[in-house]
Amino acid sequence: MIRFLKYTWFQVGSFGLLLALVPLVVTNRYYLNVMIFIGIHTLLVVGLNLLMGYAGQISLGHAAFFGLGAYTSGVLTATYKLSPWPAMVIAVVLTVAVALLVGVPALKLTGYYLAMATLGFGIIVYICFKELVWLTGGPSGLVGIPKLSIGTVVLDEPRTYYYLVWAITLGAIVLSLNIVDSRVGRALRAIHDSEPAARASGIYTARLKIWVFVVSAIYASVAGSLYAHFITFISPSSFDFMFSIKLVTMVVVGGMASIWGAVFGAATLTVLPEVLAVFHDFDIVIFGLILMVVMIFMPQGLTRGALDLWEKYRLQRDVAGGSLSGG
């Protein structure tokens, strides 16, 4: 166990170091921008993975929390001239309130019913972004969102924003790794594997599901605020049903119940469209294919599937080497 913990910190450390070095090598803003979006998406996906991959509760409306974060930050700073950091905190508080309001009744549902409830919630929030023109600017979007600043330093260079986004995302990754490898994390996985057994083992599953829903909503809200202050313009179409589906895809490709997989999933699905741009119209077809193929053949996701194979290989090797007693 102790060895395992050290191993995790080694992973986090080396990943952090790698991230810190990137801007020294990559000076091109375009690549830094891509990296920033990967960071924001990673934050979203790590949160959603806690809910979907670990606790096994699907959300087809997660774009709504991303949007709530973005719009609360955006409206408070652009329209009401609040400074961004407090706005971000208010966004989180508001998101938690909404997540509780929806989560308490919704998480009593399971499977398809839960999927549909979160989907309906997502669409309602999207329509509100579109229709509350006086507040959100409606479909034309909201302009004039200020950049973030720390003290007197305005983070308007991709490089500085890159560091900010990844510092927050890395923090979120560490927190998630800690949660996952704890009493709470085990309880979440227990809910996923067998809810009756989890309840019989003394886990208050109903409350835990709501908490993890709220936690993942907080991650999404912070990601939304970071997004809004980065591109300084938001419009409802960034928070529609398709974006929710995209997030689910990132989780799926990266692998359910794998924090590092979430990073991989977010990175792949952020970079892939850029690379696939040459295919133009084909990319939607390819996107659909990825979803189907991964889920049909590797329901645990790409990274997980690969890990499983590695395990199998190692086991075979060990058996061949005779290090396992026949058991």
Binding site: T110, G111, Y113, G120, I284, F287, G288, M295, I296
Partner: protein
């Protein structure tokens, strides 16, 4: 124009749309009962039906009835392929995996339709004339009658199929208890395939009859599918009469909401009703099956 004829007009619009929702909801129900899968690609069957009939009617200059049948047949094959190549090989029976697979399938089909027929919406001539029929201060177009007629025929045919054919009875047995059905020698796999075929066929039929009213484009399937699912849940997932009731109810509610409350929030009203039903009575209006607790 007085309020009562206004409301009559909303109800007429609502019933026409509701009929389509009802048929889509029935499609969900057929598949759900035999497999416990919610097929998120259901709306794409409707879209494919519409696009196929436009292509056949517009390019082939075939008689309309023939295009109709051919389009239904083509989409039925798509339904069978969907089952054969995505649902059956899926290793997992976990709802999350199945939801994502069918969502992926729907995106895939949408993409193919876009590559095939382009991104523009297309229209089709009305089956029989387009001069509106007036009554009670409201108006109705002949195509709406076609929509209602086809809906009724689909429902009746389905009823007959379930009650009076061997395959239909076997499917009901599967819906009741898959394992027991398998034990008494019913080919459960075949029943699943039949249910996909059926559901694709009636989805396509719905798509075909509405095209003259609503036009059709590669991306109309998402919303229709979601609304159909709302209808199915509203009526009670797994219940055929529930689906029909849910469909009409949703259509009328939506039209009244758009007319009397706010057209901008029209879709929000539909989904708000869905949330209320899910939160207060997840088994729906006519649902018999208890919502699974574990």
């Amino acid at each position: 124009m007085d309020l009562s004829s206004q409301i009559l007009q909303y109800v007429i619009s609502g019933i026409t749309n509701g009929a389509i929702y009802a048929v889509i909801a029935l499609g969900f129900t057929i598949i759900y009962n035999s497999t416990e899968v919610i097929n998120f690609a259901q709306g794409e069957f409707v879209m494919l039906g519409g696009m196929a009939v436009i292509a056949l009617d517009g390019n082939g200059h075939l008689p309309l009835g023939f295009s109709f049948l051919l389009a239904v047949l083509a989409v039925t094959l798509v339904g069978i392929a969907l089952e054969r190549f995505t649902i059956r090989p899926a290793k997992s029976s976990n709802p999350i995996a199945l939801i994502i697979i069918t969502v992926g399938a729907s995106i895939f089909l949408r993409g193919l339709a876009m590559m095939f027929w382009g991104k523009d919406s297309l229209g089709l001539r009305a089956f029989t004339g387009s001069s509106p029929i007036h009554f009670g201060g409201a108006t109705l177009i002949p195509q709406s009658l076609w929509v209602l007629g086809v809906t009724v025929v689909v429902m009746a045919a389905l009823q007959f199929f379930y009650k009076h054919t061997i395959t239909g009875k076997a499917m009901r047995a599967c819906a009741f208890n898959r394992r027991a059905a398998g034990l008494v020698g019913i080919g459960v796999n075949r029943m699943v395939m039949v249910s996909f075929a059926l559901s694709a066929a009636i989805g396509a039929a719905a798509g075909i009859v509405i095209v003259p009213i609503t036009l059709c484009g590669y991306d109309v399937g998402i919303m229709l599918g979601l609304k159909g699912f709302c209808a199915a849940v509203l009526g009670g997932l797994g219940s055929s009469p529930g689906s029909i009731l849910g469909g009409f109810l949703l259509g009328v509610l939506e039209a009244l909401g758009a007319g009397l409350i706010s057209s901008g929030f029209k879709d929000a009203i539909a989904f708000f009703v869905l949330l209320l039903v899910l939160f207060l009575r997840p088994s729906g209006l006519l649902g018999s099956k208890e919502v699974k607790r574990f």
